[in-house]
Symmetry: D2
Subunit: 133 residues, 4 copies
Amino acid sequence: MFIHQTLLRVRYSETDQMGVVYYANYLVWMEVGRVELCQSLGFRYRDMEKDDGVLLAVAEAQCRYLSPARFDDEVIVETSLKNAGARLVRFGYEMSVENGARKIARGETTHLFVGKDMRPVRLPEKYRALFGL
Amino acid sequence: MFIHQTLLRVRYSETDQMGVVYYANYLVWMEVGRVELCQSLGFRYRDMEKDDGVLLAVAEAQCRYLSPARFDDEVIVETSLKNAGARLVRFGYEMSVENGARKIARGETTHLFVGKDMRPVRLPEKYRALFGL
Amino acid sequence: MFIHQTLLRVRYSETDQMGVVYYANYLVWMEVGRVELCQSLGFRYRDMEKDDGVLLAVAEAQCRYLSPARFDDEVIVETSLKNAGARLVRFGYEMSVENGARKIARGETTHLFVGKDMRPVRLPEKYRALFGL
Amino acid sequence: MFIHQTLLRVRYSETDQMGVVYYANYLVWMEVGRVELCQSLGFRYRDMEKDDGVLLAVAEAQCRYLSPARFDDEVIVETSLKNAGARLVRFGYEMSVENGARKIARGETTHLFVGKDMRPVRLPEKYRALFGL
């Protein structure tokens, strides 16, 4: 299974008055993780949208919060390609701090390939091998 | 089952370059829904945090995206109290546009009652009846 | 001078670990204020973008923070049309809580009318009277 | 004048339906810039808050938008310490893409030193030299 590791530092804007990271921001980190995963697989997500008009519309997202992340923590996001088909792709995420010693969250997102009109399309041939198809 | 209906209008800031609402923002709308649900149940979430030091830490969040929401759409968020105990509570969410005619998302969040130190606590007696316990 | 009043409630997501609203979110509230102002002037900003391909690109934004806003506060945003021309428009904002008794911020934004390619355009004739031109 | 350079990549979440970065997000980047500047000056902003109870409350923020930034662009934020006193500090920001070749924004923020109760305090002695006082 292909795994990509992303490093990011918690921004002040990402915290809330509980003193920890607001829960929706983990989905933003997942996005950062999967954009970098695409680059590791050999293409830029930006180009897939711009040049081929193929977008990854989110069909489902799920996150389990294990331990709080705080401002200025260095977070490791491990993104994996869980499975891919011509019509959809699923990514998994493991997030941790303290050099991986403390797990903070685990999640998954499922995406449909769609065109600019948001209608489902099949993944163009040129991307298939990159996704292991 | 107790259900509360929240109305909100999609902000420009909530869209992304796909021309639709960015997926993490649905979790923000869920938060707005459950804060209003608390008020319907008979207390303000703000007071529970401030006066009693009890916070709702998110343990899990999940969302299925059914149809895109767009800038300036009027969104109905129906929040329900799915089940509650002395240690955790679960909320459900149904989101729609066009006066409820088009479903856009369905989700669920699970929360632990915690103190300001983020450690689990039991829900204080005074809130039990409000949660149907 | 034309003034529109918007009411909004502070979201939990808008706070930060200082326990008050994060400073960038005031610019989001300004956006909500000016979208509603447009509607008061007689058109929907969404339609101007979609039907006429005219966008309001921000050229400058400025905000003075006078007093903190907190979670669940009801905020009044008073948006005014400060001046408008065929090429740009300037809005002013006064924000307060406690029914207007406590001022929290004062700001201003300047916008250029641009096309979908982000190049400056002149405001179409049909909108001129609405902006008082 | 002390200048610190921060690199960041535009996130998908930071774009809006105009296809460019939403204007409030530049203030988030300024925050990332000044947190890193503090570290360059010799202390972590997190520790100043936690250990000394001194916070930087924003009194004013201003940004001029020169050219749009887009998803996946690599942004350089140059943060400078414009002037500092025992009661307030002012930072300047220059943002660019394409290795500095295209300026995208220029801004400034002014901050008051405050305690956890949000009341003004004087900068503790131990930080004075770091701010050049």
